[in-house]
Amino acid sequence: MNKLLRKNLLAGPYLFWSLGFILIPLLLIVYYGFTDREGSFTLSNILSIMTPEHRKSLWLALELSFVSTVICLVLAYPLAMVLRNRGMGRGSFIVFIFILPMWMNFLLRTMAWQTLLEKNGVINGLLAALRLPPQGLINTSGAIILGMVYNFLPFMVLPIYNVLCKIDDDTINAARDLGANFMQTLFLVWLPLSIPGIISGITMVFVPALTTFVISNLLGGSKILLIGNVIEQEFTRGGNWHLGAGLSLVLMIFILISMALIAKYDKNGEGSAF
C-alpha cells in the first residue's frame, strides 16, 4: 500500500499542473462568461450570440466548417481505403507522406495558399500567362473552405486509415463470399465498421474549422468574420473579455457535443489519431 502511494506521488506534478493550467483556466472562462465587468452575474454575454452579427458569424462558421468537413470526408475515405488495401503498413513511408502535412505549421500552409490565391498571386499569374482574365479568388468563402480542407485533411485521413487497418481482410472476404458486390460491401461492412474513425476524423476537422480565426483572417479578408474572429478580436483588440468568454462558452457546446460523440462511438479509442 505504502509502495503504491509512493508511486502515485509521481503523478503529483502532473495533477498539480492540470489543476492549475487546465481545470482552473476552464473554470475562469465559465466565470468570465457569466459575469459582467463589475463581477455580477449576467446571461448577457451568452445571449449576445443572438445578436444578428454574432448569429451571422456563428452560422457562417458552422456552414463553412460543415462543408469543409464533408469535403474532407469524401476525399479522405477513398484515400484511406486505397492506402489500406495496398497493404501499406502503418510505419510505411507512403502513409507517412500523406499524414506529414498534419504536423506542418499551419500558418505556413495557409500562407502558401495566400501566395497562390492572391490578386497578384501564382494562380492569377498563370491565368495571365494563358491570357485568361484574373479571378477574384482570395477573400471569398471558397478560399476559406479550401484553406480548411487543405489544413485539416490529414486529420481526417489518419483516424479513418487507422480504423480501416484494423478490419480483417477476411471480414471483407466474408461479405463478398456471401454475395455482396462492391457497393454493398462498402455500405454494409466498410462504413459501419469504420464509424469510430469517421467520427473521430469529423471531430478533428470540424472543431478546429469551426473555431478558426487564422484561416478566415488570411484567406477571407477582413470582411468575412467567423465566430472565431469575433472572439479573437474581443480578447486581443482590447475588447470585452466577458463577452469573448461568453461566446467561447457557446462554442464549447459544439466541442462538448463532439467529445460526447467520440465517447459514444469510439469507446476503445480505436479511431484515435495518435
Binding site: T171, N173, R176, D177, L178, N181, Q184
Partner: protein, 358 residues
C-alpha cells in the same frame, strides 16, 4: 466416382515470384467431405482461396459444375466460406450476421426469419438471434460462421482451418458436428487443415499436399495404411521409415533381416523405402523375432506405451504397444506381412514431390 462438381485444371500460382501452386489438378465429387491436408505453406489455403475466388490463379481453370468460373468474383460463386478466424461482422448481431447473404439476395422477411431459426437450431444455438458477436465464445462464433454460410444453401462449403483457434476438447466436439452437418445438409465440404487427426476423422477423401504439389489423394484408410511416399507416411501419424532392399516380390530386406510382405512389382534387389507404423510392431521373445534389439526408452502415454527399441545397427524403432517392455530388456521385433508398406525411393528431393503428382 460420379461427375466431379469442382475441377481444378493446371492451377499455377505464385506470390512475389515464389511458386505456391505448380500445375495443380484436383477434382472434387459432389456431396463428399474433401480435406486438403499439409504443413503450413504447402499451398492448401491458396487452393481453397482460388476456389472461393479470393485469389486468381496465374494459370489454369476452376471448373464448377461444368462451367469455367475462374474469372467470377466471389460474390457470384455458388459456394460459401467459413473463415479461419470466423470473420463475423462485429457491428451486427447474430441474426443480422446470418441474414446478411439472404438480404443481399433480396429474400423475403419471413423466409429470412425461418432460415435464421433453422440455421441456429442446426448449429445448436437456438435463441441466440439478438446476442452480440463479442458475447460469444470462440466455438459459438465458429458455429455462427457456419450458420451464416449454410443459410445461403451453397453447393459447396469451403472451410479454412475453422477449428484451428479452438481448444482440444471443443475441436473434437466440433469435428463430430461438422460430420453431422455435412450428412444432414448433403452438400460438399472442402476442408483445409494441418491437423492429420482432424483429416482422418472427418474426411471421405484426403488430399495430402506439400510444397505446392499434391502428394497423395485417397480415403483416410488408404492415406494411413498405404502412404505413397515418405512424406505422406511421415506426415500422417507416426511411422518408422527405413531404408530397405526389395529382394523379390513379397520379400524385403531391412537392416540385414528379411521380412515377408505383400507388395509386388518393385523388381528385384531394388532399394526402397519401407514404412512400418509403430503400433504394427509386435514385441516378442528374442528367439521369435525377425530382428532383436534392446528397449532403450519407455514412456507411458495413457492408451499405450511408447517405446524405443534399438537394434544392433543403431536404428531406433518407434513402438506403440499396450504391453510394457522395461528399459534394458532384450526383445524380438516381429511385423506381419500386410503391415509392411513398400515405397519407391525418390531419385531426388524434387522428384519426391513431382513423381506422385498424378
Amino acid at each position: 466416382m460420379n461427375q466431379p462438381l469442382i475441377n481444378l485444371k493446371n492451377i499455377t500460382k505464385s506470390f512475389d515470384g515464389a511458386v505456391v501452386l505448380d500445375d495443380l489438378n484436383l477434382s472434387v465429387a459432389e456431396n463428399t467431405f474433401v480435406t486438403l491436408l499439409g504443413p503450413s505453406g504447402c499451398g492448401k489455403t491458396t487452393t481453397l482461396r482460388i476456389i472461393g475466388g479470393f485469389e486468381t490463379a496465374d494459370q489454369g481453370q476452376v471448373i464448377f459444375d461444368g462451367e469455367d468460373i475462374s474469372k467470377l468474383p466471389p460474390n457470384k460463386r455458388q459456394l460459401n466460406t467459413v473463415f479461419q478466424k470466423y470473420a463475423l461482422f462485429t457491428h451486427m448481431n447474430i441474426a443480422e450476421n446470418i441474414a446478411f447473404g439472404l438480404k443481399i439476395k433480396g429474400k423475403s422477411k419471413t423466409y429470412i426469419q425461418d432460415k435464421i431459426k433453422y440455421a441456429l437450431k442446426l448449429v445448436n444455438l437456438d435463441g441466440f438471434e439478438n446476442r452480440s458477436v463479442s458475447s460469444l465464445s470462440g466455438g459459438q462464433q465458429q458455429r455462427i460462421a457456419i450458420a451464416r454460410a449454410i443459410v445461403n444453401e451453397p453447393r459447396v462449403l469451403l472451410l479454412d482451418e475453422p477449428l484451428g483457434a479452438l481448444d482440444l476438447k471443443l475441436r473434437q466436439d466440433m469435428q463430430y458436428e461438422l460430420i453431422r452437418l455435412k450428412n444432414e445438409l448433403g452438400i460438399t465440404f472442402i476442408y483445409v487443415t494441418h491437423d492429420q487427426e482432424e483429416a482422418l476423422t472427418m474426411s471421405d477423401t484426403i488430399v495430402v499436399m506439400n510444397q505446392g504439389y499434391i502428394q497423395q489423394t485417397g480415403t483416410p484408410e488408404q492415406i494411413y495404411n498405404e502412404p505413397e511416399n515418405a512424406f505422406v507416411a511421415d506426415f500422417i501419424g507416426e511411422s518408422n521409415i527405413i531404408h530397405g532392399t526389395m529382394i523379390r516380390d513379397e520379400l524385403v530386406e531391412i537392416l540385414g533381416a528379411r521380412f515377408a510382405c505383400v507388395d509386388k512389382g518393385f523388381g528385384t534387389n531394388k532399394p526402397v523405402d519401407v514404412v512400418i507404423r509403430p503400433e504394427d510392431i509386435d514385441l516378442v521373445e528374442p528367439s521369435r523375432g525377425t530382428l532383436t534389439g534392446i528397449c532403450t526408452h519407455l514412456i507411458f502415454k495413457g492408451v499405450h506405451y511408447e517405446m524405443e527399441v534399438t537394434t544392433p545397427d543403431g536404428f531406433e524403432w518407434l513402438v506403440h504397444s499396450t504391453d510394457m517392455c522395461p528399459v534394458g530388456k532384450q526383445v524380438g521385433i516381429h511385423v506381419d506381412p500386410f503391415d509392411i508398406q513398400i515405397m519407391n525411393k525418390p531419385a531426388s528431393e524434387d522428384e519426391e514431390a513431382v513423381g506422385v503428382n498424378e
